[in-house]
Amino acid sequence: MSEKIVVKSKLGDLLAFVGLIRLRRKKIKSASPERPKEEFLNTVVREMHPDRMFLKISEIVQETNSTRTFVLVPDAGRGTEKLATFRAGQYLNLRIDIDGTEVSRNYSLSSTPAEAAAGTYRITVRLKEGGFVTPRIFENWKTGTTLESSGPVGNFVYEGLRDKRHVIAVVGGCGITPIYSMVRDSLDRKDGVSFTVIYGVRNSDDIIFADSLEELSRNGVAIHYVASEPDENWKGPKGFITAGLIRELSGGVEDRSIFLCGPQAMYRFLDGEIGKLNLPRRLVRRELFGEADDPAGLDGFPAGNASRTYTLKVHMADEVLEVPASGGETVLVSLERAGLAPPSRCRSGECGWCRSKLISGDVFVRKENDGRRIADRKFGWFHPCSTYPVSDLEMRLPRAR
């Protein structure tokens, strides 16, 4: 600029410039000498999103022959003073000791946010005969058992700005738990959302929360049971939950959101049925798939890989460890079996908590749950929870925070 600007005065502008440092020193010297403390907002955040919580089982409720509810309270002795708030539908990622090895499993909170504010969470677990984890839970978890958990996490929640005012919840087995929380939370908050629950069970003995659901149904929540192995005097619909049945029981699917939660076999069947309803994606929400129970049956899974074994060369902090891996299990499971306690949350490929670097080797990623970021794919990062080794692998694994 060729001209000379004068802001206040020719000399004053220069003096003001020279005085900037003095002004700064004065401002700093006259400020409070107190150490900056944690602000209210930061305390709230720390309590809302704890990295980990320590919980204690205060009560166990036998819901059905194969299902138990564990009532959890904060374990102040280990540093958890109060329970984090959560949104109905969210889950806890629990760290569970299996023969000295730490694995993580997710359990939806079956209780409501109001109950959490009053000091308890509830999770409801179904025993899977011959399973890896649930038999140990049923055997080992007693009143007083202490547990380590993540804070409440997950995106399977009712979101009024996205979801319709009428929700059709199609659930199977233990998939009732997040919906049970959502329905009661909605009544607690009187938000006016109406629910039609279509609950697939084996038979009448298989209904979890039966009494409570009966009461909800008297209070206007539409609940329909569909039995796959009905007892003799079963009066309701039988067999699988089909598109036609969803339409019939809910009085039509127009202007409704559909929430799906259940075992993998149910998802596999329902995918086709929901497809027949011709709904846009935004109207269909589904809870996490979890680790595939039948990887060999996944679309595109390399033939014979499930029975092969590989070696994972794992860089972790400053150490390099070699651990065995099965081609039929996710990389995450192999890391857990080796006692590495890797970070994990959703176990479905979506949240990225287990995000790791693949240095070399070939993998198979389950396409339906490939939640990797574009740049992660580009730079060779992957989610071990939805990835299977197809060769020996070399990888870098961040330690769990």
């Binding site: 600029m1 001209e3 502008d13 150490e319 990225g352 740049a375």
Partner: protein
């Protein structure tokens, strides 16, 4: 139960606390010269706010609206030069406009393109007759920018007399606010100021308090170097930096919060992490706010001099924000988002320009952006990504209780969507496939800053670029503990953070004796 504990066992020449834009850049520059460097990042991905997240079939940008000072290969800005030097090449999309300004009560609705001539034409189309004065104004802004570039290039042997002779207006305006300089020295009517001052949102300090120097530099940068966005969200830049850093021999450890910066005899001796790693080092680069470093990390506490606390407390935290991320099942063309970014405000008239909410209610001002307008493939065909953002002073949310939080953010998001629909004549609601609402709590949770502040410290007159830079040495309260990033000497913004990392790394290289 048995857990195989693994540790970081080496010592390092330099430890970088936080792998944000500043930390990653410093890491690359140091590693490139063979300095043994460790970045400790508390989250499970590098980049800090420069990141992305995935919901369903959408990948959302977390922070960046417009990258300043990148420039084209022919006219490179500081960021491009720096990335070329480091050796990374993220893919960029060019932004033809700085913003589309909509001020319903003022009757303003127009596109403000980048480039001085085009911008002035844009203003002229809205308020005719002030081209000459605006050219004068941009000439001043360019002089300020040139002066800053000169200072940066001659840090070691700055010729102050030459500076005064060559860039007199830089010196003469440095101690004033935007409004003092603009309104005392230029004859621009209120209607033009309403349009011009809409830029304040990029720096987060009202023009009544914002220092002129940083404002002028920003205007000059946006118009000389234009603006860009990364094609694959900020995570692509952060990953490119982190991978390059590793390639150059640097170590980055994710999920590893630093719990202590160890100090002995007034100088840095090491760090301790939440995993129990004890790492010795003589240099720590803090890509965290001084509030966190002095308030929480430096150990033992007695080694923090009282003046460091005064230093933190004297400074005003910058703004924080609420962002609504929407994945819509409609294309941006069908939606009617023809431009990338809309700045909307009920009015920019002086009496209500900076009426900011003191409670977490809907402010009058909002930014609406749709990345698909410039990166069509940012989401699958037939869909688009919409971002709505509003800002708050850092204190406003510092009282919200956990139990009222979810309902509050939903109510606000609802109002934001309504405002965007009404002001821009869009139909958003029927197309929401994914929605995520980020608030000051989200920011605080992710990056850990006090009150969820995302814009560093306010660049008011006494705390702007010049005084910060002139006082760097006397304000190093602990020897070899230096700061980079949005809370450091450069002020907020991607380019400032990258450059801060570069400048600090060069200083350390000199101290280490010109290795490499």
């Amino acid at each position: 139960m048995k857990k195989r504990k693994t540790h970081l066992s080496s010592d390092y020449d330099v430890v970088i606390v936080g792998g944000g834009n500043g930390g990653l850049t410093a890491g690359c520059k140091l590693a490139a010269k063979g300095v043994k460097t460790l970045i400790l990042e508390k989250n499970n991905l590098p980049g800090g706010y420069a990141s992305s997240f995935v919901r369903g079939r959408f990948e959302f940008e977390t922070a960046l609206h417009a990258m300043a000072d990148l420039g084209s290969p022919e006219n490179p800005g500081a960021v491009r030069k720096l990335f070329d030097e480091i050796g990374i090449e993220p893919e960029w999309a060019f932004l033809p406009d700085v913003y589309h300004l909509v001020l319903p009560e003022d009757g303003v609705d127009g596109i403000l393109p980048t480039g001085v001539d085009a911008y002035i034409d844009g203003v002229d189309a809205l308020v005719p007759g002030h081209k000459k004065e605006l050219h004068r104004y941009f000439a001043l802004c360019n002089e300020v920018m040139d002066a800053l570039n000169y200072i940066e290039a001659h840090m070691d042997n700055l010729n102050k007399l030459y500076l005064l002779k060559r860039f007199p207006n830089f010196i003469r305006t440095a101690a004033y606010t935007v409004e003092e300089v603009t309104e005392r020295c230029f004859n621009l009517p209120e209607e033009v100021l309403d349009i011009l001052y809409a830029y304040w949102g990029y720096l987060g300090v009202p023009t009544t308090h914002l220092n002129f120097t940083i404002w002028a530099a920003m205007l000059s940068m946006y118009h000389d170097k234009k603006a860009y966005v990364p094609k694959y969200r900020s995570h692509d830049i952060s990953m490119a930096l982190a991978e390059r850093y590793t390639e150059l021999g640097g170590r980055i450890e994710l999920n590893t919060p630093v719990e202590k910066i160890l100090v002995d005899g007034g100088r840095v001796t090491g760090v301790e992490t939440s995993h129990g790693d004890m790492i010795r080092t003589n240099h720590v680069i803090a890509n965290v706010a001084p509030h966190a470093a002095y308030g929480r990390l430096v150990h033992p506490r007695e080694s923090v001099p009282e003046i460091a606390y005064r230093y933190c407390n004297s400074r005003e935290l910058g703004i924080t924000l609420v962002s609504v991320f929407l994945g819509l099942d409609i294309s941006c063309e069908e939606l009617g988002m023809t431009d990338y970014e809309y700045f909307i405000s009920d009015t920019m008239r002086r009496d209500r320009r900076y009426v900011l909410p003191t409670e977490p209610t809907l402010p009058q001002r909002m930014i609406v952006s749709c990345i698909n307008a410039v990166v069509p493939e940012a989401s699958p065909p037939g869909t688009c990504i919409l971002n709505l953002s509003i800002t708050y002073e850092a204190d406003v949310w510092n009282g919200v209780k956990a139990e009222e939080y979810v309902a509050l953010k939903q109510r606000l998001a609802d109002q934001m969507i309504e405002k965007a629909e009404k002001t821009l004549h869009l139909s958003i609601r029927p197309h929401i496939e994914e929605i995520e609402i980020a608030t000051p709590m989200t920011m605080a949770h992710y990056a850990g800053h006090t009150k969820g502040a995302v814009y560093g410290y306010k660049t008011t007159v006494w705390d702007s670029l010049i005084p910060r830079n002139l006082c760097i040495e006397e304000e190093q309260y602990i020897k070899n503990l230096e700061f980079v990033g949005g809370f450091s000497f450069r002020g907020v913004g991607y380019c400032s953070s990258y450059v801060s990392g570069s400048v600090v790394a060069e200083g350390i290289l000199k101290k280490l004796g010109g290795r490499g």
